[in-house]
Amino acid sequence: MRDVSIIGVGQTEVAEHWDRSLRDLAVEAIASARKDAGIDRVDALFVGNMLSGELAGQENVATLVADAAGLVPIEALKIEAACASGGAALRAAYLAVASGAHDYVLAVGVEKMTDFLTDGVTTALALAADADYEAAHGLSFAALNAILMRRYMHEHRARHEDFAPFSVNAHRNAALNPLAMYRQPITVEDFMRSPIVADPINILDSAGIGDGAAALLVCPATEARRARRPPVRISGSACATDTLALAGRADPLVWQAVADSARLACAQAKVKPQDIDLFELHDAFTIVSVLSLEACGFADRGSALKLAAEGRIGLEGDIPICTFGGLKGRGHPVGASGAYQLVETALQLRGEAGPAQVKGAAIGMAQSVGGSGSVAITHILQV
């Protein structure tokens, strides 16, 4: 296997892009990543996307993007792993280059969501759950996470306001990111006053959906110095699965796929959680941040809320998370979010994060989770 580096990154603003389609967004992110690298060659394209069939009436979406971006006749495939699709697209690109099958490969995550009203999007997102045994019974994604959150609060005697620091941190960091969708800082009082979606989960526990695309160009590490910007090495890449339905697990509060993918990626990179300078985690709901921090070994079981309360997840903390706002603050174009996390981690390691810069960042972890912890993809990036 060859070492692989990220040599170019690009991202669109996350917003309600009324005048722009899925293809417009993907093409902008791709053009921006190629310009960033200063290299024209592309041998293959992997498109991370979850819902183009449901929300745009369009499958065969990798061909659509390759065509629109002027990349025909290269290999182009859609990669789908629910909300982890963006991370999965980079994993596919990584494997293609590491194996020697291709040299210059683009991974783009793209999602166009705001053409639909809330009930349509809620229905579409539930496609990541078990269709026969979760979605068909009216369990929305928010409901599944709310069930987890109530159980967590019961087992660990937590209060709803204990989850507020995650949203406050995400919005504080998003305010520093000109591409983020929710740039207004919030207070604990705002959090507690926020309307309920599926109790105990409220609007500010939840990452809002949006439209957006983010892209990364990768190549063999030995050729990465040709690029315009400093290369960022992919030192760990791993994917793990758990049962599709939350109820299929012995203990739903243990996110084993998240734990396994983090452990495998860290082992490949030869790093421990305490070596990691920042962690772009999948904060689709505040409870997901909590369970991810615990599964990945940044906090003992039942203690992630304490980590947040002590301010250790902030930009100056010992484990900064959601440094550009996370899914909550940047916005969550679901199949694109994993690609945004990787672009943001790369920018941190290049020292190009502007006011959101984590000082001295050298090792970053980005993790995308699909379904209710049913698939997790973790990457370790290093300079």
Partner: protein, 137 residues
């Protein structure tokens, strides 16, 4: 939900039919093709009693399509007496103070709004266990 799919699900949906592993005797709902513990294929049918305890729940205020007329409704996860967890709606809980571990029983109810083609999908829900007013003689 389309008719053939609904037809395939009649055992689990109406009778809470799962299966059991002949290798390690673990029981599954819904039925699985292969035992997730010992990987034995060829599991045997097993009908659950329908008695359960409440694991956790949520009052859903933003319903997906097909559930608007029921909203707000309560979705929960329950632990069957025989072991497995099941996700389902809770029935007859208006005005009931729910508590984790409270006893529940399966009932058959309409699980979503009627679809365009008009047929109604029935399936399991769980309701607080009905207790006799005084112990039976």
């Amino acid at each position: 939900m389309e008719l053939p799919r609904y037809h395939r699900l009649r055992g689990p949906y109406y009778r809470l039919e799962g299966n059991a592993c002949p290798g390690c005797s673990r029981r599954f709902f819904p039925p699985r093709p292969v035992c997730s513990s010992c990987r034995t294929p060829g599991l045997e049918p097993f009908a659950f009693s329908g008695r359960a305890a409440l694991y956790s729940w949520s009052r859903v205020l933003q319903p997906p399509r097909g559930f608007a007329s029921m909203a707000p409704y309560t979705a929960g996860m329950v632990r069957l007496e025989e072991g497995p967890l099941v996700s389902a709606q809770l029935a007859d809980v208006d005005g009931v103070d729910l508590a984790i571990d409270m006893p529940l029983e399966m009932v058959t109810r309409k699980i979503r709004d009627a679809e365009e083609h008009g047929y109604i999908v029935y399936g399991y829900k769980f309701r607080p266990l009905l207790r006799p007013a005084r112990p039976p003689r």
